[in-house]
Amino acid sequence: MDKPQIILHIQKPVNYTVFDAKWIPCSAKFVALGNYARGTGALQIYEVSQGDVKIVKDVEKSKAFKCGTFAASSLQNRHLATGDFSGKLQIWNLESLELPVYSAQGHKEIINCIDGVGGLGIGEGAPELVTGSRDGTVKVWDPRQKNDPVATMEPGEGETKRDCWTVAFGDSFSAEDRCVAAGYDNGDIKLFDLRNMALKWETNVKNGVCCLEFDRKDIAMNKLAAATLEAKFHVFDMRTQHPTKGFANVSEKAHKSTVWLTRHLPQNRDVFMTCGGNGSLNLWKYSYPSARSKKDPEGVEMGVAGTVDLLQNVVMSTQPVSSFDWSPDKMGLSVCTSFDQTIRVLISTKLNTL
């Protein structure tokens, strides 16, 4: 009855493969990144206006873009950090897109994923970017330091290099504390503590990890959602780490296809969207258990996972949903892209009543 509705607001076909779309903070505009069939990169800025999207800027760059984020830029600058197919990390000033304001050959192969923290007033501490690449490395960057990453996480000597599919910042509740979660094609999830420069936790969820996201970056780790292949996703309670069992988690089947993405609602951290390989969108709500931790037989604290409930399920496309982004400024407004070369602006209602 009071279920939130997910309604297609605007649909915009484009002539390139869209990999990522991100709302420009403090605006009704979003940027779409992708690659043209000829291998070049597309960077477009659209503005939502009166039930339609108008294209504001459209540039073509030499290398195809895979991912982008505003999260490490100040609200004033709103610089977009992108990772491209050649492994380059670039930062763009959207006002003048001729040349990047920062450029570094970050990886040897395609940058699959990027995340930022410290900008936009979200999270404490220095602005930092993290990139994950097919070359198996995860690198942390500070836009103030040219050319070199400030931290690199890579497999040790002799270990096989796994394709890193996703990275996420979290735990950035003070100037020093910060964590990076990375998911790999073999189902590994690794949590790096940047303060201690150490691996904090690792686990394997059996299926390749397509997406990781903390419900919030700027608080002590609370929840981590992991979307995987084989139509499964996991939500870890990150508050209590057991020395042997690690973090408690709940897993759920969804989409009957690869779960490509999980995206937490900026205005409500317990609500999140998952996007499927069959073009469907599922809206979920996480419910905490009565007690989030308990003592195991030896008296050591261990976490207790909550439950997830499906709120809404809609099919938007016949192709996988490649990206989904909630507007940070307008609750319920979101943009999603899929491999049918279409950008969609969606409206989700009644989110405030949840």
Binding site: G51, Q76, A151, K330
Partner: protein
């Protein structure tokens, strides 16, 4: 009835829900339109820079050097540490509050904020940190370089210092240390340059002056070297090294002022002699003088020996050169080449001995006349002695060969006496000539264990190299080898060079040896015919002369001589 009502109820519910959703959406869309215009205004504001609140105190870049973080923290602490002392008053200390001047305090706060804005802008401190980091890295490279230098890995040390200089071009120690390494590599000019760099960075750095002085003195810039040492003494009056070096260099300078008298003399003859006077230090001296002199020796000694096959013109030239060199070495009489030539020209080797013994004294007395002062003489004589020590071995060899000769004279004279004077050696050579016909294999065998016995072809080759320019001593040496041993000695083949030398040597004193057995034994050496094929016409002439001389004696039947001629391809 109830079913219908249920169904109807459901329908109604659905309808109301749809209507509700519709209205909800309509509301949302209207709201969205408002939001769009709102956000646009907000964005405009943001762009114009009104919406401040930008985090100004960002933490430093992660994982740059630890030092940096420490520095930053200190700075942060320093600022607030002033405030509590002056400003903090307990909330219950009302008397103090009465005296508290609010305006003044506010002013102070304003001032502090102003300071913050101007001085602690993020970029500036970052740059400072970067500098600090680079300096730290430069220090690390310096330590690395010092380690390498200690271990003797000079190339790597130079590399490390260079890296360090890249990191911190303001560090005076790095170029000075690199100069040290370059000095060890004897790259004096580069070392001098580095020292100059170091001095320009730190004009009080004593070591840089010391090293530059060393480099300069090695480069022959004695005046400048002395100036540098004087600078060292200015900075560090007790520096012993500088004191002794200045003394030494000044002597050298004086000597050089007077030296031209002697050097110009020799320069007229041949510029190559000059290096003998130059090197002030032991290590650089040897390579400097050895190389040119050996060249001279090869040229001149090689010519007179094979003069037989030279054209008349060439003979004249070589004769003239020989004369020149004799002149030269009589005047300077200090180089081993000189002794070589004398051995060639004078037929009494022992005389050379005497000459050589005389030579240093001659020179010393020459210089004595020019320069008063005892130290000077030492300096002059020592290099000469150092040079003399080399030919000593050659001389020994020679004296050995003479003593060998006297040996198979069945002790008519004592062998030890031969070396001492010309008289004795003359007697010995006389003895050799008289004994030449009597030389038998048994005799020479007995002598063989005394001389360096050419038992192997290698040994012969080595001896040959030494003796080939001294026909006389080679003759004596060769004579001592029993002809039966030739095939063994020459191994797989006889070198054309050796063969011609032997033939020419034989031609010197054909009467002293059993020519036939020698010539015949030579043909028994493996692949002799091949070597014989390459003999020149003149060399063949020498052989035929030799064979003719045998036939004159009539000791051998003609058939044997003819076969010998055949073997020599005559």
């Amino acid at each position: 009835m109830s079913k219908v009502s249920k169904h109807e109820e459901k329908m109604i519910n659905l309808q109301t829900q749809m209507r509700q959703n519709q209205s909800e959406l309509q509301n949302y869309l209207a709201d969205l339109d408002n939001w769009e215009s709102d956000i646009k205004k907000k964005e405009e504001k943001l762009k114009s820079g009104d919406a401040g609140g930008k985090g100004s105190n960002l933490p430093p870049v992660r994982n740059t050097i630890h030092k940096k973080k420490l520095k930053k923290k200190k700075k942060e602490k320093e600022v607030p540490s002033d405030k509590p002392r002056t400003g903090k008053i307990s909330g219950f200390d009302f008397r103090a509050w009465d005296q508290f001047d609010v305006e003044k305090a506010l002013e102070e706060v304003d001032k502090d904020e102003g300071k913050k804005e101007t001085s602690s802008s993020e970029y500036e401190t970052d740059e400072e940190w970067e500098l600090e980091r680079k300096k730290h890295l430069a220090g690390q490279e310096k330590d690395k370089g010092n380690d390498f230098l200690k271990r003797g890995d000079i190339d790597k040390a130079v590399e490390a210092y260079s890296k360090g200089m890249d990191f911190d071009p303001t560090n005076a120690i790095l170029p000075a240390n690199r100069a040290m390494a370059l000095l060890k590599q004897q790259k004096f000019a580069a070392a001098e340059l580095d020292c100059t760099t170091s001095i320009s960075l730190d004009p009080m750095y004593v070591k840089a002056y010391l090293r530059r002085a060393t480099a300069r003195s090695s480069l022959g810039k004695l005046d400048e070297a002395v100036a540098d040492f004087n600078r060292v003494l200015d900075l560090e009056p007790s520096n012993k090294q500088a004191k002794t070096e200045i003394e030494r260099l000044q002597k050298e300078l004086k000597r050089e002022d007077e030296a031209p008298v002697t050097t110009t003399l020799t320069e007229d003859e041949c510029g190559r002699v000059k290096p003998i006077y130059k090197p002030p230090e032991e290590r650089s001296k040897k390579p400097l003088f050895r190389v040119p002199i050996e060249e001279i020796g090869i040229e001149t000694a090689a010519r007179p020996a094979p003069s037989a096959d030279q054209s008349e013109l060439a003979k004249k030239i070589s004769a003239k050169e020989k004369e020149d060199f004799e002149k030269l070495f009589v005047s300077s009489a200090s180089s081993p080449a000189g002794t070589k030539i004398e051995e060639l020209t004078t037929t009494k080797p022992a005389l050379v001995n005497e000459r050589r013994d005389m030579a240093p004294e001659d020179r010393a007395s020459d210089t004595k006349k020019e320069i008063p002062g005892h130290d000077k003489i030492k300096q002059v004589t020592t290099p000469v002695k150092a040079q003399a020590s080399q030919p000593e071995s050659r001389l020994e060899e020679q004296s050995r060969s003479t003593s060998r000769d006297t040996k198979h004279k069945s002790g008519s004279e004592s062998s030890s006496a031969t070396v001492s004077g010309p008289k004795v050696s003359a007697a010995s050579s006389l003895a050799v000539s008289s004994s030449s016909e009597r030389t038998s294999s048994a005799d020479t065998e007995g002598a063989e264990d005394k001389l360096s016995p050419p038992q192997t072809s290698f040994q012969f080759q080595a001896d040959f190299k030494q003796l080939k320019r001294k026909p006389e001593s080679f003759f004596q040496y060769f004579q001592a080898i029993p002809p039966d041993n030739y095939p063994k000695l020459f191994g797989q083949s006889i070198d054309a060079d050796i063969l011609t030398t032997i033939l020419k040597t034989l031609a010197l004193h054909p009467e002293k040896v059993d020519l036939y057995s020698v010539l015949h034994s030579l043909t028994l050496v493996k692949r002799f015919s091949m070597t014989a094929m390459f003999l020149s016409r003149k060399e063949k002439q020498v052989v035929s002369d030799l064979i003719d001389s045998i036939s004159k004696t009539g000791q051998r039947p003609d058939s044997e001589l003819n076969s010998l001629r055949k073997a020599y391809d005559l």
